[in-house]
């Protein structure tokens, strides 16, 4: 797709090309005599009039020399060019018809006090081989000031106008929405924290020995029921029914109880005597105190 260009610019491009072709025809003999490789480039110049400070001017150079592709050795740097102009960028671009162009952008960086002619500078691009070069001719254009030199002071044409007052925005609804949002966030956060604390407390209360401790309060210390309560707590901790022979599995699963290994072993021996043996154990463990000690160890592992 061929990009559409503004008519004025297209006209001036045709004029520029025609001028360049004419110049090249007239000066070809001389050029050949001077240097066989320096050629005038085909250039699309910006509009030559009607510019003011801040305008960006685009100069496009066709990268072809005598119908062959021209590879520039280097692109011109971005720099200030005299009083009026600054070269902002130099980029390679390919048009829809497949031609490669070097696009240079200039910006007018100064404002004249009256209508002034300013020229884009003439310059030359060297090829990568160094054997060829393209010449870009100087391009004059007119630049005008934005304001008259002296303000009249009449009407609104004062020397310096006061700042515009910023528009009044109704902040009350925004503030209300903000408070509602913040309040909702705080409420949500509080609810979440509350749920977290409640869940942790409930989980802690449901730990085997926490539960056992509660149940032991309702039973007689040393009764068969109280021994069974502790057995179920050990089973729940290990994940299976614990016997004296499988105590190692318990300590592997819950190493915090290692500290009470001797008492735990004694518990299982005494329990076997009580439930399966012929006589109740001598000096039975005080089960509530034992369970409290187990609960302390259990708690030490809770997060």
């Amino acid at each position: 797709m061929v990009p559409r260009k503004p008519p004025a610019r297209q006209t001036w491009r045709i004029v520029a090309i025609a001028a360049l072709i004419a110049a090249s025809v007239v000066g070809s003999a001389v050029a050949v005599a001077e240097t066989a490789t320096a050629t005038d480039a085909v250039v699309e110049q910006p509009r030559p009039f009607g510019h003011v400070i801040g305008d960006v001017l685009e100069q496009r150079i066709l990268l072809q020399n005598a119908g062959r592709d021209f590879a520039p050795a280097a692109l011109p740097r971005a720099e200030r060019l005299g009083v009026w102009l600054e070269r902002r960028s130099a980029e390679l671009a390919t048009s829809a018809d497949g031609h490669r162009w070097l696009v240079i952008t200039y910006q007018l960086v100064n404002a004249p006090q009256g209508l002034t002619v300013v020229s884009l500078p003439a310059w030359e691009i060297k090829s990568k081989t160094g054997q060829e070069s393209l010449k870009i001719a100087e391009w004059p254009l007119t630049v005008a000031p934005l304001t008259p030199r002296f303000a009249s002071g009449a009407g609104g044409l004062a020397d310096l106008l006061p700042d515009h007052a910023p528009p009044q925005v109704a902040t009350e609804p925004i503030r209300r929405r903000l408070w509602i949002g913040l309040g909702s966030c705080a409420l949500l956060l509080t609810a979440w924290l509350g749920w977290l604390v409640w869940r942790n407390r409930r989980a802690a209360a449901n730990q085997p020995f926490a539960r056992a401790l509660r149940e032991l309060r309702d039973s007689v210390d040393g009764s068969p029921q109280s021994w069974q309560i502790l057995h179920r707590a050990f089973d729940a901790t290990a994940g299976h029914v614990v016997r004296f022979a499988t105590l190692d599995n318990l300590f592997e699963k819950a190493p915090q109880f290692e500290a009470l290994r001797a008492q735990i072993e004694q518990f299982f021996i005494q329990s076997a005597e009580l439930f399966f043996g012929s006589a109740p154990p001598q000096n039975p463990l005080p089960l509530q105190a034992f369970c409290r000690a187990l609960r302390r160890l259990e708690k030490s592992r809770e997060r």
């Binding site: 021994w227 057995h231 179920r232 089973d235 299976h240 016997r243 009580l274 439930f275 399966f276 012929s278």
Partner: protein, 340 residues
Amino acid sequence: MISEEQLQDWRGAALRVEQEVGKAIIGQQGTVRLLNVALFGRGHVLLEGDVGVGKTTILRAFARAVGGDFERVEGTIDLMPGDLVYHTYVDADGKPHIEPGPLLRHGERLTTFFFNEINRARPQVQSLLLRAMAERTVSAFNKEWRFPHMTVFADRNRIEKEETFELASAARDRFMFELRMTTPTDPAIRRSLVFNPDFHDVDELLQRVSPGILPWNELNRIGSAIQHAVKASEALERYVMDLWDATHAPQKFGVHVDGVDMNKLVLAGASPRGMMMLMRAARVVAWLDGRTHLVPDDIQAVVAATLGHRIFFTPVYELRRAQIADALVKQILDSVPTPR
């Protein structure tokens, strides 16, 4: 009435049987202990295992240590019940003779009857043997023959299935234990079995075992005395009843086996005979441990061997018995609480 001291003496003799068998058999302490338990629990044992793991050797060593008369029959597809009961031949004078067969030959002195590869024998033969096991009697020649001291050790090759007759569930229920014998895993024992020439000649190896350690004709009396001497507490009875319930409805005790629908797994749990066998065996375990009361460990020591083959699965799971049965028994033991 057997005194406590006599029981202690017998215990010493029982432990000595294990020691003697241990001179010929290495790496099978568990199997030796359970064979001893069956002997004093007056139960029969079906030994199952891979080819060449030493099933026959261990049973021969045991029979030698126990003493009494020993008889051995090889199960074959053409073996008929009559072959166990009588033997016919024509003598040098051309006269036909009928003599008692291997089962009757020793009369009441028969202590160990070893049936090798029982699953190769026809069901008719198995039936005869099962009656002999259950009642310790056989009818032949118009009279009843009694073998009150007989213990049957049978073995079964679990790899070969061709030309074999699988034992019926009722038949398997007659055995106190169904033991699975596996190759030892301890590297030192494995090396010794392979490289030590002492283990290569079975007959010579068995000579190491002192013969006739037990007064075999008193086994029934001592077995009965053990059963009466070892007591079970209420808590233990509750535990055993819970285990029994768990064999019927394991899901009620939270038992779960991976990949199995527990509601559809069990067709029938352990039989009353199975539970009797369990208690008989557990009491012997307690006695061998020097106790006069049972603890759950005694029960657990024999649950797998006693109940593993007595829980019947629905057909869809029966084919996977080998994988499921062990896991189920372990889960039951892990899940049924005690003391309760």
